[in-house]
């Protein structure tokens, strides 16, 4: 092969691949853009993309150190080698410069080759969360591309130094041909595959998804680094109910915003979401990874038979298909996703938290739920009844609205209506109607009084925060409740809202801003931590039996509060025994997102699995900070551990003024041995708090 032919072929190959890739990219971009509009900072986003990749995305990827290194080598090597390849082949360069760049290209392709071998090793016995199919050939493609580029770099370097004859010889010619063929294959996977729908699509769409993400505010910036905050964006986006053209949720893929569609394409099918999904683990028909791939099929059309990962539990592949403009969710005829898949989600955000591609699974699920609820009234199980209750009574249980304060009839709680202005507004949440949660509330009141906090409650003026309505897709009811609550709150003066319900905490703190409600909201664990720091809470720490702590999703993953509850427990003299899944990886109790009311059957119950986690660390007590978690975990049959809210544990350890402590001294005398579950001593002690 002559050098001219060699260079000509090389350049031709690269140019052709580049052009075809660009055509593919344009087609793909236009495909995404068939979604609804969503304004983005086009250039600013692109400019922010490298930082988002290197900081935010890498922060997630780096949780798996070994694979993070592999990915850095493979992706970094590829980007550099591919860029150099374009330069060397397409740009007019001075010979000396070309030599240096070719040398660099050789180095980078070798780095990539190293990475590719490690990818291959991982693919030898891939864990079930990884997709197979084309993903199994990817390490080979990466290897072929890297090796070909390396070989070609070598040839290019050698052509300069060696007599040209060797290239025209049989051996050299064959080698060059093989390498060119390898490059062609590699370019096919790496360039065309990116934009025409191969596994490498994740790199192309992923990069643009980072640039034009629908929640740009979730990424760190230099400013946020300076302020020492880790930004979160976890509140759901409101539907514009006044816009007659806006669809009520998502019926067809085109009802997603265009950058949501872009996000679906970013999925790398790593299955980290699948591995942490509580519904998947419980054998309910949900697999977040499969869901995102179904969202892709919604854009492109086709059957899910081509999916090469774990199916939705209990739902064989090949029975569902989608088409552009067709329905996403099965309501009557065929579609991509069965409704029970969507209703299995507890909105725990474990998938979002783990997704290295920053895909927003929960947004997509709620968008489709909105369509089912608002357009079809098809909220399953007790969901419809809960929504009816909210509409009629402003609380999900359908209790008489004026019974919200019954639990506190003997506490003479100060009312905002009477005081107008206080330091702390105690937000009760709908746990006020629940006998179990009333004990937590009474414990909290006891603590607030003992630490002389100036507080009041809204009393019967409080309404449900709208959390469950919103997550069941009833955006209209949510917005009504939000507006009503915001209007009520606007009449009063307070510094802080304190609540023992992480769902209220999240909704008031993160989702009311869109309706004009801007508040400083504290979960009670945070507030108790502050009281302890300020020395306003007198505690007699005492050693207890083994205690573990269950992070509520809406406190931890949604709001990043992992430390305050642990500090409070430490102040009580408790040495926590942590569960394998704790902190941002805490396993959901199964109580979020309306899952307990839609009640989609599975093979196991999520709270049972969580109590098994508790049993695994042999804890006698599981400390919680959420009424939902308490209800779910206490509902577990034959559980070995007691479920206690942090407020109850604090109230129990309070050092009170003489007159008050004397009353309960008979019941609270120090005890050396761990107490029986449901010990009657606790019964009256707690119930009469």
């Amino acid at each position: 092969m002559s050098a001219t032919l060699f260079y000509g072929s090389l350049t031709g190959l690269v140019l052709a691949a580049l052009l075809l890739a660009l055509v593919g990219a344009a087609r793909r971009f236009l495909l995404w853009r068939r979604g609804r509009p969503s304004p983005v900072a086009w250039l600013g986003g692109l400019a922010a993309m490298p930082r988002r990749y290197l900081v935010d995305l890498h922060h997630v990827v780096a949780r798996d150190k070994a694979f993070a290194h592999t990915h850095v080598a493979t992706a970094g090597g590829f980007v550099a080698a591919a860029g150099l390849l374009l330069l060397v082949t397409l740009a007019p360069l001075p010979a000396g410069g070309e030599m240096v760049l070719t040398g660099l290209m050789l180095v980078m392709s070798l780095v990539m080759l190293g990475g590719a071998r490690r990818v291959a090793r991982r693919r030898r016995r891939p864990p079930s969360r990884l997709s197979r199919g084309p993903w199994q050939r990817l390490p080979r493609s990466l290897t072929v591309f890297a090796a070909s580029v390396a070989g070609l770099s070598l040839i290019m370097l050698m052509v300069t130094w060696l007599p040209a004859a060797w290239l025209t010889g049989v051996l050299g010619g064959t080698l060059a041909l093989v390498l060119l063929a390898g490059l062609a294959l590699g370019l096919g996977e790496m360039f065309l595959g990116m934009t025409w729908g191969g596994p490498m699509k994740h790199a192309f769409a992923g990069a643009l998804h980072l640039a034009w993400h629908r929640r740009a505010e979730r990424f760190s910036t230099r400013q946020s680094d300076r302020d020492g905050v880790s930004p979160r964006s976890t509140g759901l986006k409101p539907l514009d109910l006044d816009d007659p053209d806006a669809p009520l949720g998502v019926e067809t893929s085109e009802d997603f915003t265009w950058n949501q569609r872009l996000g679906f394409d970013a999925c790398v099918q790593c299955g980290r979401c699948e591995a942490v999904c509580p519904a998947f683990a419980a054998g309910q028909p949900l697999n977040p990874k499969k869901l995102i791939q179904d969202m892709v099929l919604g854009m492109t059309g086709g059957s899910d038979a081509g999916f090469h990962g774990s199916p939705y539990p209990g739902k064989p592949l090949g029975e569902h298909r989608g088409q552009p403009g067709g329905p996403m969710v099965v309501t009557s005829g065929g579609a991509l996703v069965d409704a029970d898949t969507l209703w299995s989600c507890t909105t725990c955000r474990a998938c979002v938290e783990e997704c290295p591609m920053m895909i927003e699974h929960v947004d997509a699920i709620v968008d489709m739920r909105r369509h089912l609820t608002l357009e079809h009234g098809a909220t399953p199980g007790k969901g419809a009844a809960v929504l009816d209750n909210l509409i009629a009574t402003d609380n999900p249980g359908g209790f008489a609205p004026d019974s919200r304060m019954h639990w506190a009839a003997d506490l003479n709680l100060p009312l905002m209506r009477e005081l107008g202005q206080v330091d702390v507004l105690l937000w009760l949440g709908d746990g006020a109607f629940d006998m179990r949660n009333q004990r937590t509330l009474r414990a909290l009141v006891k603590i607030l009084r003992a630490s002389q906090v100036d507080f009041a409650v809204l009393g019967d003026e409080e309404r449900d925060s709208g959390d469950v309505a919103r997550r069941l897709g009833d955006e209209a009811t949510f917005q009504r409740l939000a507006r009503d609550n915001v209007a009520t709150l606007s009449r009063y003066g307070f510094q802080t809202i304190v609540t023992c319900d992480p769902h209220s905490f999240h909704v008031l703190g993160n989702e009311y801003a869109a309706f004009g409600g801007h508040y400083c909201v504290r979960h009670h664990s945070t507030f108790l931590d502050e009281l302890l720091q300020q020395g306003r809470l007198k505690i007699a720490p005492r050693p207890r039996s083994r205690v573990t702590y269950h992070d509520p999703c809406y406190l931890g993953r949604y709001n990043g509060e992992f430390d305050a509850p642990r500090r409070v427990l430490a102040a009580l003299g408790i040495e926590l025994t942590e569960m394998a899944r704790s902190g941002f990886r805490s396993r959901c109790c199964g109580g979020g997102g309306g899952a307990p009311v839609t009640d989609i059957p599975g093979e196991r119950r999520i709270p049972d699995m969580r109590m098994a986690d508790v049993a695994e660390v042999e804890a006698d007590v599981v400390a919680v900070g959420c009424p939902q978690c308490t209800a779910m975990l206490e509902g577990v049959v034959d559980r070995q551990a007691e479920v206690r809210d942090i407020a109850e544990l604090v109230a129990e350890a309070l050092v009170l003024e003489e007159s008050v402590s004397e009353a309960s001294s008979t019941a609270t005398g120090a005890r050396r041995r761990p107490r029986q579950t449901g010990h009657p001593g606790r019964l009256v002690e707690e119930a009469s708090q």
Binding site: M435, S659, V660, R671, Q676, P680, R682, L683
Partner: protein, 695 residues
Amino acid sequence: MAFDAIFQPITIGRQTIRNRVVSTAHAEVYATEGGMTTERYVRYYEEKAKGGCGLCICGGSSVVSIDSPQAWWSSVNLSTDRIIPHFQNLAEAVHRHGGKIMIQITHMGRRSRWDGHHWSTLVSPSGIREPVHRSTCKTIEEEEIWRIIGDFAQAARRAKQGGLDGVELSAVHQHLIDQFWSPRVNKREDEWGGSFEGRMRFGLEVLKAVRAEVGDDFVVGMRICGDEFHPDGLTHDDMKAIAAFYDATGQVDFFGVVGSGCDTHNSLANVIPNMSYPPEPFLHLAAGIKEVVSVPVIHAQNIKDPTQANRILEGGYVDMVGMTRAHIADPHLIAKIKMGAVDQIRQCVGANYCIDRQYQGLDVLCIQNAATSREYMGLPHIITPSEGPTRRAVVVGGGPGGMESARVLAERGHQVTLFEASDSLGGQITLAAKAPARDQIAGITRWYQLELARLKVDLRLGTRADVATIEDLRPNLVVLATGGRPFLDQYPAWGFSADAEESLIVSTWDVLSGKVAPGKNVLVFDSICEFAGVSAADFLADKGAKVEIVTDDIKPGAAVGGTTFPTYYRSLYEKEVIMTSDMMLHEVYREGSNLIAVLENEYSGVQEERVVDQIVVENGVRPDETLYLAMKAASLNRGQVDLEALYAAQPQPCLAELEADEHKGGYVLFRLGDGVAPRNVHAAIYDALRLCKDV
């Protein structure tokens, strides 16, 4: 929310009550120092408030006047300002736990005794004698009427100054106000009797005087009856008219309604319905009153179960339910509902041990809960785990004393093994529950069964323990609650033999347990006159036998309490059981296929014979001491109990020996219940609690 209706607060007058459950007024017989609410009294009500009870109305029949005798039933005395600081203690203790407390105030009129203390001349509208107390009285004069009206007002003032939340005027149980109402007792023709308005006048003047004294921000209620159940008494329609009359004044904040009058033994039994009654038997009467009044109506009487209470409230029959005996049995009733621990509620079984003691002027005690009203002595409703070493405890006997011992020791954190020779727990309770309409007594056992299972007590049923079995477990503590056997061999002339074929007589246990089939023509001889004899007679008659029950005491069932013997009598008379008193069983012999019982009159010595086919003898229990005598010598304390420590509810000194004996394998030995001497369920449970609570 489960039990939603119970936990709905309610406003009475200007007081908000946290839930719908009331401990209604009952005579406690605890007021000391001339009717003061001293420590025992305060702690008794504090425990209910701590347990979550919404409203306590204390002091049933608390007197407002010096001529309404206070001392017979240790009633609260509101006739003196000396009561005010005691009320302050009481109010503070209840309010501290979020409860409310009111007191019933009354003048008893003729319903008392005159033969003691101040030797008061009792007063009544027309001087007609009251049969239950055999009390004669004078016809009240107008001056006395006005004095007593003033006394009511002063008493209410004292309640208010003492910080109580209200008063309940008693116009029930035939006290003075309803003595004026009832044409059966009020035969006056002046302006205090005769017409409806005349009969209403005394109560109205009392109400007006009280209200004028305390103002509007103090609760004033009335407790009335729903129907006197006497042909010449007030009917339900009369009571509706009366309730409407007082309600129309706008000065009554609530009505409490009790079904039935109670100035005869038979009607008295209705007022505190024992276990033979259906649930809430007189609810319809209270609901009838609720129809005609505009203020909340409270009703007690056989409401013992949270689900039942919730159902009644949900149905809207009344506004609040009285669960008074339910709280005597378990003052933490509400707390346990709130904690989702309904199974742990010690439910009242309607044995009426409490009220039957009260009618004898004895302090109210619960048959099954020995801590009730002994809070002041340190007897706990909640057993806290021991801080000392875990002990191995063996309890022998699954009757009430054994079950309570096992429960208390297990709550203390000890390893407990309980041996019971029969196949089930309960001991004599199991037998008692076999009699007609007495099945609910088994509720005592039911609770223990649940508790012992919850506390993981090692139950060895169907196992008769001997010394070797017990010592194999290397116990630190042995509690013998072995009970006994029927004492049929006291008189050889009765012809008892251990050989059933030979024996001329059988025991009530044989009959009730079903071991011996009922005869056709049966004589029951009962020298004890408590429950077993009448239960066996009723049981036999129920199975179709012709029965005569004979006693040498003053009447069959003489020792059965005032609210309980009437329901036995109703049943026995209905079944034509012949009741014979004053006759001793002198001798029994066989004549052909018949048995001849020779009875001898206690007073005349005259003998009579009865020809029957079965003779059942109730002669009490002979303790089974075998095991005790075998183990006594080896035990660290030689089986002895320190009485001073026992009576003061202090730890037994011998327990300290156990500490010293550590590792030497010795054990402390206690025995209690009928295994010591035949007493009753409460005695066994009380001893078990006070002996075991400090182990």
